[in-house]
Symmetry: C2
Subunit: 374 residues, 2 copies
């Protein structure tokens, strides 16, 4: 392998694929980045064995010239070094020694055997299972993935369930204490039902340029491939039947309150300072009392009491009730909604309640289980 590349181009390409690379991975070769030069392009792969990024830079005679094809696995230092170089970098592989030259700088680095790097599954680039607008998909993720469980006790609950059929595109995510759901009228000829790890979706959102189209390829039961432009992301799927959440979601309510989302959020944010104090920063419980207005309060023996009153916009049904819930869950849900106003849908102090945007392009809801305080 022998090539010359603009150091900026190399640094940016490495940055795209290194997000999954763990420099302390127990398999040393996965601490490195796979690099393959063909006549037409330079391919980079970073992997942590369950998730992988693949990126390619085309030969354009300006930023990249390839003199001799070949492949290697770069040690982690190349990424830090190339970020600090200012000119073109010449890479030349001799056996397992990689020489990196730029001006008066020269590195001779030990590399890994590229044959030992895990192979990525092949797929047909031309035939995605689904194509979505990146911005749409990102929005759907933001409204659901945060509700996933952190605990591996029930692995399926660490994922987001994506259900695409002739009726529409559904995303649901729950950790069994709260649930986020989106239902849009995007349809597709192929039906798909997948559970995607929430952490992988988070990584996807941070790495992809979501202004572009996002292609999903699903050719095996345990792997999903995302592609956008020159970047490809491989992630494993969670196996098993995602719990049927439809029966958990109430449809009849005792009371529906429309309230300014920002004011409600600010009030929660203030009161949670006290709730947190009682709970070592793990979330804390706050109380909502509705009676002519919404009064949010928290009371702990240690710190004292805090109360914020927020006027509601309108209310239908019962106007005198009290319900307690996790401050963190409420804040997460309020942040996931984009609208100026939210509807707070109450069906009893010990029954789950809903938050929905007052207006939305598609169906969207946040469900939270109350906390028993009495």
């Amino acid at each position: 392998m022998h090539l010359k590349i603009n150091s900026q181009t190399l640094a940016e390409a490495l940055k795209k694929v290194e997000r999954v690379v763990n420099v302390k991975h127990q398999t040393p070769i996965l601490q490195g980045i796979y690099l393959e030069a063909t006549e037409q392009e330079l391919i980079l792969i970073g992997s942590d064995s369950t998730e992988s990024f693949r990126f390619h830079v085309p030969v354009d005679g300006e930023n990249l010239e390839i003199f001799e094809p070949g492949k290697t696995v770069l040690p982690k230092q190349v990424s830090d070094i190339s970020k600090k170089m200012k000119k073109d970098v010449e890479l030349k592989l001799t056996g397992f020694k990689l020489s990196l030259k730029s001006g008066k700088t020269e590195f001779d680095l030990n590399t890994f055997d590229p044959e030992e790097f895990p192979k990525l599954p092949a797929f047909e680039l031309e035939k995605p299972s689904v194509t979505l607008k990146g911005t749409d998909f990102n929005e759907f993720i933001k409204k659901t993935a945060f509700a996933a469980s952190d605990s591996e006790v029930r692995p399926l609950l660490t994922g987001v369930c994506l259900d695409l059929n002739s009726e529409g595109l559904h995303l649901v995510c729950t950790d069994s204490h709260r649930l986020g759901k989106v239902k849009t009228d995007i349809t597709n000829e192929n039906s798909l039902k997948l559970v995607i790890p929430a952490k992988a979706l988070d990584r996807l959102g941070k790495t992809f340029d979501l202004q572009e189209e996002l292609h999903l390829y699903c050719e095996s039961d345990n792997q999903l491939i995302f592609r956008s432009g020159a970047l490809i992301f491989y992630c494993r799927l969670l196996e098993g039947n995602y719990p049927d959440t439809s029966r958990l979601i109430p449809t009849e309510f005792k009371s529906e309150m429309k309230i300014n989302r920002k004011e409600f959020l600010n009030a929660m944010d203030l009161v949670k300072e006290l709730a947190n104090a009682a709970d070592n920063g793990k979330g804390g419980v706050v109380k909502l009392h509705v009676n002519g207005a919404a009064t949010i309060s928290s009371h702990t023996a240690q710190a004292g009491k805090g109360t914020v009153v927020v006027d509601y916009e309108s209310l239908e049904g019962e106007d005198d009730y009290t319900i307690s819930f996790s401050a963190k869950y409420m804040l997460d849900a309020l942040k996931a909604i984009d609208d100026d106003f939210v509807n707070f849908k109450f069906q009893g102090a010990m029954r789950p309640f809903l938050l929905t945007p007052s207006e939305s392009k598609y169906e969207e809801l946040q469900l939270i289980l109350p906390v028993r305080t009495m």
Copy 2:
């Protein structure tokens, strides 16, 4: 105590004094912030028992009105709460209960007994021992304090020695492997010789507005007081005789090389990536070979070899030598110097070497002990 204060004014005042406050301090009252309202001003004190900040806000009829004097120790939540409030805040103390009201928000917080808060030593505001330009003092700190030791084995070496007499102002700091020194012609009628903890100086630099004048008050052997505008900082002094470093600093050299500081720094920064790899990020050793140019290199069995050549500007004396040193110490020293060019002063492969700016308003040097590699 009963007062009304602009929430922004309160939040900023709390921010100034809370830098020393440890919310997990084993003495609970030191987790809080002391607040005293007099007819003229509001006084705030944050302390961790060895260091304290004191700030005052004058009554101006606009941002602060005091209806009834009094004192209390605020729990830590007040700081977070006041940052999030948007209007004026009314504080009223009844017994040990503090009520905090702003619009439709109300907090009733438990407070500490102000009589239990440690008293600060009194001092005469009008008679500082020394007055310095804040920007000057900050510059002197940046050129010395980083060289302090992290280890409490020799407590004096965690400090910066400040020596002020009729000959000038001297600052020296060493961890016994490297040393930073500044000597200016600032003189003073009072002689002072103090060892100030480097961490306290760091805190000072981050909290004070160093555009203003800085007054130092030294009325006891174990305490130093800094004042700038409305902010006062109390810190303990390190006791004992700071080692005499003057005999450590060489005055004759075999070779003096003038080199571009930025280029040398960038080269070190590149090569240290390899040196770090060998040393688990703890610094790493690099080698400098001078012969017609400066060649910086690092070689480790695990990662490989890196070499950067930097042309020097001029050289007097021996032009063929090799010396090894800590990459971290070298980077710290190069960053502490402000000039475009540095002079590298060599007196033998196993003898300490000096770095000095090519031009400087005052005497300034960085000394580093080499590392034995052969």
